[in-house]
């Protein structure tokens, strides 16, 4: 649905050039919710703005719904933008207009007949749960309600793609959740392709199917959310994953790690999918002459797949512990020794 092909964006500053995007290649399929994560200044905003040409790439191609949008005339581009909705961090609503007029605006710009506009806007406001706010002004709404208006407005022209520019970054966690659920609903009911940029890994975990990690204008890691979360390859991806997975080892455990010897060894065990449900540890305790002590654990759900992370201490004879490790390796889980000098 959206293809970035070698997209590069360079800003010409007074002193030096800034490369905001560096040969970015991304493929976003129809109906997908695709998240792009990165720190501020990583080039996320430039990336999403290249889709509807709020910013023009310096080189490369952007294909949206089969159209090379860089080759469109001004008129064709305006036409194309009707099938690309966009919502913003600060909502960007018209403060001087009612909720109704805000949502109707894209239709009014397209000269759609009044009665059709009314029907469409009423439907949209009902869809986002603001049917009773049609005559309110944006300053009478909460942040979450404003973003709902933004979503309704973005959907007015029945787009095929929805761009979300840090859409939840100005909202509190509760509201963020409800807005993300609304986006999920939009995705499911209209089979809309959604591109989200964010610096919050929670957003990616909550609703994205795929994720790309952007660092200094380059895509350093991309794949399904499950793969990136369960096996992040780059340091930056690991940091982002850690920010939501809470798998860092607590200080108290860390002290124990320092004190480990042959008889007390500490391991991290990662369970994925069905293995998360298997009674691995109790089996070990029964079959081997070791004591199993769970120091820390967390289980998260990713894309409906359980993902567990346990830090355990094995007390016992070194040979016996090695046999346990062998046993675990035969299962569908990952085990790694935790050392004092690495987390």
């Amino acid at each position: 649905m959206i293809t970035f092909d070698q997209v590069t964006k360079i800003y010409n500053g007074k002193e030096q050039q800034v490369k905001a995007l560096d040969q970015v290649n991304l493929q976003i399929e129809k109906g997908e919710i695709y998240g792009v994560i990165g720190f501020s200044g990583a080039g996320k905003s430039s990336l999403i703005r290249c889709v509807n040409l709020l910013e023009r790439p310096t080189s490369g191609k952007v294909i949206v719904d089969g159209q090379d949008i860089l080759n469109l005339s001004a008129k064709e581009l305006r036409e194309a933008k009707r099938s690309i909705g966009m919502i913003f961090q600060h909502f960007n609503l018209l403060n001087s207009k009612t909720v109704y007029t805000n949502v109707a605006m894209p239709l009014l710009l397209a000269n759609i007949p009044k009665n059709e506009v009314k029907k469409r806007v009423d439907d949209l406001l009902a869809f986002v749960g603001l049917a009773d706010k049609a005559n309110s002004y944006p300053d009478q709404l909460s942040g979450g309600q404003k973003q709902r208006v933004g979503i309704a407005r973005a959907l007015a022209t029945k787009p095929k793609v929805l761009l979300c520019d840090e859409a939840t970054s100005a909202l509190d966690p509760e509201t963020t959740k409800s807005i993300l659920q609304l986006l999920k609903k939009v995705n499911e009911e209209y089979n809309l392709t959604i591109l989200i940029i964010t610096h919050e890994m929670g957003v990616i975990r909550e609703i994205c199917d795929k994720v790309a990690v952007l660092d200094s204008g380059k895509v350093v890691e991309a794949g399904s959310v499950f793969d990136v979360f369960s096996q992040p390859r780059t340091e930056i991806a690991k940091n982002f994953v850690r920010s939501v997975m809470h798998d860092e080892i607590p200080e108290s455990v860390y002290q124990l790690v320092k004190a480990q010897d042959e008889r007390h060894q500490i391991y991290r065990i990662v369970f994925v999918g069905s293995s998360a449900g298997a009674p691995l540890l109790s089996q070990i305790a029964k079959q081997y002459a070791v004591e199993v002590n769970v120091l820390f654990g967390s289980i998260t759900e990713l894309q409906g797949i359980p993902f567990g992370n346990l830090i355990v201490k094995f007390d016992g004879d070194e040979k016996e512990i090695n046999r346990v490790i062998m046993h675990i390796h035969q299962q569908d889980v990952t085990i790694k020794e935790v050392l004092a000098d690495v987390s």
Partner: protein
Amino acid sequence: MLVDNQQIVAALWETILMVGISLLFSFVIGLILGILLVVTRKGHLWENKVVFTVLNAFINIFRSIPFIILMVAVIPFTRLVVGTSIGTAAAIVPMILYAGPYIARLIENSLLEVDPGVMEAAQAMGATPWQIIIRFLIPEALSSLLLGITIATIGLVGASAMAGAVGGGGLGDLAITYGYQRFDTTVMLITVGILVVMVQGLQSTGNFISKKIRRR
């Protein structure tokens, strides 16, 4: 008192006429120039360095001439337009030249206050530059724009009184000819009083309407 009520009413009417007509014209000129000043600047809808630089300089020149001098300086032009250089009609010409660029600056200011995010949303929706100006820029700036127009109108009331110095008619003329030159303190007080009430009324009305429109 050297003047009767009828003369005062006539003078008041002349002032209202001068302010009203010059406001109308200078508003149209100011609106066009103000919008151009905003949309031709760097990174805006119709970025155009030449137009912006020329316009900016032109407005600054007019803004830097004191009204009393402007009035005298443009006499040939005034004569060309209305056929005479004295009287109410003749006063209106320099008043328009004075207030037009002033209003342009005020409108520029109001339009620049509009959240760039709103403009971005408009562009993302596929609005034409014209639609952006009419449907986004002006409505969002309207409340602040109205306060600017109020300030300009009050400035014009002041200018109209000054026009009295060169025989422009109106309350200023009355105050100078009778109140100042013939030492009639009553006429002076009455004209000043009327001007004060007028300005108060204009400002309150402007504030009231602007507040009604403002939605934030």
